[in-house]
Subunit: 343 residues, 2 copies
C-alpha cells in the first residue's frame, strides 16, 4: 500500500477508462491497485469474500462530493475513508472492510487521481482497514466535477455494545469531543469566490479508537453521532425530533477555535451549523459524564472534550441554547443551504 505517487504528466481520465476494456484494466492495475493492493482486491473477483464475522455487523454508505476535492487538512480520498469509518464507529463497530465506487469526470488529471488514491490508502492503513472491492465509472466532461467517491464500511460490533438513540433518556449529559466547525471553515477557505486566509485545518480523522476508549470507560454509553453536514445543530435537531425530547446547550461551553469564530463572523455562519469530520456528540447517564470526559481527554482525538448540554423533558424536538444571564435562543434546523458540498 501507499506506494509512491506517480507523475502521470499531462495524462487525463478518458471515457475509455470506464468502458470495461483494456484502458480500464490498466487504470485499475496501474493506479488503484498500486496504492490499495490487498488480498481481496488482488483476487480480482466481482465481490470480496470475507471470513464469517465474530458478531453483529454494521454497514453504512456515504457519497463524497466535496468541493474543492483537496482542502487544508485532507482531501476527498482521506475524507471518504474517515467519514465512513466514523459512521461505523457511531454504532460502536470496529471497521473491518471498506469498498469504494469512483465516478470520474473525463479530463481529470491522472496525477490528481493518483494522489487521492494514495491519500485514501494512507487513511485506510492508518485506521487498520482495507479497501476490499471497488468500481470505476467515467462520465463525460461537464457531467461530473472531477471525482465523486462513494465508500461503504463494514464493521463488527462486540457483544454487549448497544449504542442507539432509542437509549437516550431525560437527564443524559450531552458531550462533544472537541472544537466545532474546523472542517467546514477549512473547506470554505479554499472555495472559489470566497477564499480567505486561515490557519484552520479540517479535523478529518477516524474516531473508532476514541469510541473504543469511551466504551471501556463507560460501558453504559447511550448513543453517539458525528455532527457532519449541518453541524451539531442538525445532529441534535434530528435526535430531538426522532426521540421527542428537548436538548439544552450551554453557549459558554461550546469549544470553538478563535480562527473558526473569526471565519464564521466573516461568512455570516454559526459554528453550531458548520460541518465536522473528526468530532462526535455523545449521550451518557449524568453520573458517568465526568468519567467519560476524563477518558476522552486522555485520547488524542478527544483532548477538548466537554459536557455541552443535557437532555430535558420536552418540549419534544426543541434544541435550545442558554446564552447566559437567563438568555435563550432556539437552535433550529438549518432552513436553507448554508454550506453545499462540504463532504
Amino acid at each position: 500500500m501507499s506506494s509512491a505517487v506517480f507523475d502521470f504528466g499531462a495524462e487525463r481520465v478518458e471515457l475509455a477508462h470506464g468502458a470495461g476494456g483494456r484502458s480500464m484494466a490498466d487504470l485499475i492495475d496501474g493506479l488503484f491497485k498500486r496504492h490499495l493492493a490487498n488480498a481481496w482486491l488482488d483476487r480480482g473477483e466481482d465481490s470480496a469474500v470475507l471470513d464469517r464475522p465474530r458478531g453483529r455487523i454494521a454497514v453504512t454508505t456515504d457519497s463524497y462530493v466535496i468541493s474543492p476535492f483537496v482542502f487544508p487538512g485532507g482531501d476527498i480520498g482521506s475524507l471518504a475513508v474517515h467519514g465512513t469509518i466514523n459512521d461505523l464507529a457511531m454504532v460502536g463497530a470496529r471497521p473491518r472492510a471498506l469498498t469504494a465506487g469512483f465516478i470520474l469526470e473525463e479530463g481529470l488529471a491522472l496525477t490528481d487521481l493518483d494522489r487521492i488514491a494514495a491519500s485514501m490508502a494512507a487513511a485506510a492503513v492508518g485506521a487498520g482497514v482495507a479497501v476490499v472491492s471497488g468500481d470505476t465509472k467515467v462520465v463525460e466532461r461537464g457531467k461530473g466535477d472531477g471525482l465523486f467517491i462513494t465508500t461503504t464500511g463494514l464493521g463488527e460490533i462486540a457483544p454487549g455494545v448497544e449504542l442507539a438513540i432509542d437509549r437516550i433518556a431525560v437527564g443524559d449529559a450531552v458531550i462533544v469531543s472537541g472544537t466545532l466547525g474546523d472542517h467546514g471553515v477549512a473547506v470554505m477557505s479554499r472555495r472559489a469566490g470566497i477564499a480567505f486566509e486561515t490557519e484552520i485545518l479540517s479535523d478529518s480523522a477516524p474516531l473508532h479508537d476514541l469510541v473504543a476508549t469511551m466504551l471501556e470507560a463507560v460501558p453504559d454509553l447511550r448513543a453517539l453521532r458525528d455532527p457532519t453536514r449541518g453541524g451539531v445543530a442538525a445532529t441534535l435537531n434530528e435526535i430531538a425530533a426522532a426521540r421527542g425530547i428537548a436538548i439544552e446547550l450551554q453557549a459558554d461551553r461550546l469549544p470553538v477555535r478563535e480562527g473558526v469564530k473569526g471565519a464564521c463572523e466573516l461568512l455570516g455562519l454559526d459554528p453550531l451549523y458548520v460541518a465536522n469530520e473528526g468530532k462526535l456528540v455523545a449521550f451518557c447517564p449524568p453520573d458517568a459524564a465526568d468519567v467519560l470526559v476524563a477518558a476522552m481527554r486522555a485520547h488524542p482525538l478527544g483532548r477538548d472534550a466537554c459536557v455541552m448540554g443535557s437532555v430535558m423533558d420536552g418540549p419534544p424536538g426543541l434544541v435550545e441554547l442558554e446564552t447566559g444571564f437567563g438568555g435563550r435562543r432556539v437552535v433550529d434546523w438549518l432552513a436553507g443551504d448554508q454550506l453545499p458540498r462540504i463532504c
Copy 2:
C-alpha cells in the same frame, strides 16, 4: 415498500436537499423512506446493524451512471439493485442487504426521483433484499447528470460454495445463460443522437436464484462472471489474462436476438462487446456441462443457456472465435470507448 409514486408537480431537487437540514430530512422521509422503508432505515442510525451472518460474507460495490437513466426494460434504480446483486451472485452469495448512495444534480425533477426510488424498491422486494442504509448528496446544476447511484451489496456464502476464477481448468466448458447484448442495445436505442426503433428490452434481472439452481445441479461449478461493461469479450479477456489460459468460442453457438444483430450492424458494434445485465458466463468441468445447461434451461432466467466454448491450454490470454470452415479470429480487448455510460 413500493408505495404509490407521487406527482411532485414541478418540484425539483435543490442544493438544500443535500445540506443536512430540514429539506434533506423531508426528502428522506417523504420520498426515500416511503418506498424503501424497513426496520433498519426506520431506526435512523448512521449505520445499519445486522445480526451475525451464518457464514462467510461477500461484499461488492458498483456506481451506476447510465444514460439515459430510464431505458426500455428498466431504469437506474432497478439496475442498481440487479447489478450489485449479480456481483454477489457471481461468488455464490445470497444477497442479504443493500446500501445506496445517491448523487443528485440540482434541478432533477422530484417526480423522476420518486419513480426511480419506487423502481429500486420493487427490484429489492423482487429479490428479497432490503436497502438498509443510504446517503443523499446534491451537486450544482452542470456538475452532475440527473442522478448517479452507488449500491453496495452484502451477501452470505453457504459452506462449501467456492466459486473463483482460480478454479478454472483447461478443458472446462464455457457456458452462457442467454442472449447477448440486449441491455446495451436497449440503452443505445434511447440515446440522444443515435436513437432508433427496436423491440429489444434490457435483460436487467437478479441472477442469485439462477445461481442457486446451478449450484444445486453442479456443486463442482468452477466460476461465474456477469458480462456487463465490455460484454462477453471483456469478461473472457480479463479471465484469460488473469489465469494465463486461452478460451475458444464457437461463433455459431452464440445466442443473439435478431433485433440485437440488426441494431449492432446499424451501429457498427459486435454483440460480443455489448453489455448484459441479466446474463452470466459459467465455467464448469466438461462432463458436467450437459447437466448444468439442462438445469439452467429449466429456470426462467436461463432458458437460452448453451455451451459457447471451452478453455484451452494457451496461448495465455488469448480469446479466439471459431467462425466455421476452419476460420478463426481473435476476440481482443475493447480498444477504445465503445459504449460509455452503459451501466
